[in-house]
Amino acid sequence: MKLIMAIIKPFKLDEVREALSALEIQGLTVSEVKGFGRQKGQTEIYRGAEYQVNFLPKVKIEIVVADDMVERVIEAIQNSARTDKIGDGKVFVLDVEKSVRIRTGETDADAL
C-alpha cells in the first residue's frame, strides 16, 4: 500500500474528491495546511505598513491505496487539481507497511 499525500489549492478540493470517487476510492483524510513555495503571498498594507504574507492556504489530502491504484490516483489528482497557475501543489508517494480498520480489525487492503 502507498500513502498518497497531495497538497492542493483549497477551492479544488471538491473537484479532486469527485475525481477520486470516480476511481472508487472509498476514503481519504483532509487537513488544512499553509504552504510556502514558489507562489508568493501578496504584499498587504495594514494601517499604513506593508507586510508580506508568507504562507498561503492549501489543503492536504492523504489517501492510502493499494499499490496498483497509485498511478491512476496521481493522474486523477493532477487532472482535477490543475489550474496551470503557479502554486497548484504537489503529490508525494510514501510506502505504507500496514493498515488496520479500527472498527473491525481488518488489515491491509481490506482495511482501506
Partner: protein, 451 residues
Amino acid sequence: MIRTKTQLALAASAAVIAAAMAEPALAQDAAEAALPVAPETSFIFNSFSFLVHGFLVMWMAAGFAMLEGGLVRGKNTTMQMTKNIALYSISGLMYWVIGYNLMYNGVDGGFFGIPGPWSASDPIVDGAFEGDASGYAAASDWFFQMVFVATAASIVSGTLAERIKLWPFLIFIVCLTGVIYPIQGAWQWGGGWLAEAGFSDFAGSTLVHSVGGWAALAGAILLGARTGKYGADGKVHPIPGANLPLATLGTFILWLGWFGFNGGSQLALGSAADAISIATIYMNTNLAAAAGVVVAILVTQAIYGKVDLTMALNGALGGLVSITAEPLTPSPMMAVLIGGIGGVLVVLTVPLLDKLKIDDVVGAIPVHLVCGVWGTLAVPLTNSGTNFGSQILGIVSIGAFVFVVSFVIWFVLKMAMGIRVSEEEETIGLDKAELGLEAYPEFGRGSQSIL
C-alpha cells in the same frame, strides 16, 4: 411595593407601603389637573422623542452590520463591515447635502421638493418661547429622518453581499440616499401626490423597507448569484453564515432599534395622547416581532422537522417590518396576527427566491420587501381611515419607481465599471481580494492562524 395603576385604590389604604414610597405628587391639589402642558414643554418632549428614538434607529445601522456580518462567510466579513459603516456615513452626508430638502422642501402635493443643503431654521431666537405645542427642534427632526435613509441603504448591502465590488456599491448608495429615497419619500411623507391620494404608511413598511428591498432586488438580478450557490442541475447549495451569534446580536439590535423606528414615527410626545400612542406602538411592535419569531419556529419545525435559527431571526424582522406600516391602530391580537403572518411569509419566500435563482444572502428581500408589502396592505384591516386601493397605489407606484430607477443605475454601473468581482476574487474572498484585510486572521483559514 405595588407596581401598577390598577392597584392605586389599594395603595392608598396600604399606609405602610405608601409611606415608604413618599410620593409628593399625590399631595398635589386636584385643581391643578386642569393645568395643560406648556407649549414649550411639548416642544422639548417632541424634540427629545426625535432624539431618543433617533439614536435607537441609528443603532440599527450596527444591527444590520452585525446581522449581515454574521450571515456572510468569514472571507467577506471585513468587506461587509466596510460597506455598512460607509453606507451609514454616506447616508448622513447625502441626506444633508441634498436629500432632506428634496424630500420635504416645498413638495406641496407634487413629486419632489427643492434640493440643496439643509440647515435648521428654528422659530426661537431668544427670549420667551413663541412656538406652539406641535413644534420641535428642526435638527431633531432632521436627525430622525436621516437615520431612516440609512436603514433603507443597509438592506441593499445585505442582499448583494459577497460578490459586489465596493466602489460601484458605494456609488449606488449615493444615488439611493441622495435621490431615489428622498423623491419617493416626498410623495408621501413630504406631503406629495401620494399623501393626497390617501396612502398610509406610518413608519415606512413601504417607504423605507420595501424601497431597500426593491433596490436590492434590481441589483441582485443584474449582479447574479454567488458562484456555486445554484448547481447546474438547479440544485440549491446553501452557503452557511460564519458567525451566528453575531447575526443574533444584530437581530436583537434591530429589534431594540425598531422601538425608535415605529415609536418615534408618532413624531410627537407633547401630549398624553402622544404618550399613549407611542406606548401602544411599543407594545404592538414587540408583539408582532415576538409572533414572527414563534411562527417562524413553528413553521420551520413543521415543514423541515427542525428549527432554523436564521429563519427565526428573519421571522423577528419579518414581524417588525409587517407592523411598521401601522403600529398604532391594531389591537394586540391584530398585531400578533400581522407579525405572525410576516413570519410565515419569510419562511416561505426564502426558498421561493432560491427557486427563482435570486441570491439574497441575508434574506433581505423576504423580510423587507415581501413583509413590507404585506404590512402596507394590512393597514386598512385596522385603520378605518385608509383603503386598499390607495395602499395598492402606493405600493405599486413606489415599487415601480424604485425598481426601475435602481435597475437603470445598476445597469449603467455595470456597463461603466462592472459591479461584480472576478470569479477568482470571489473564491479568495472580497476581504483579501479587494481590501487585503482579513476579518478573522487567526481563525479558520486566516493567514495568522499558524503564527
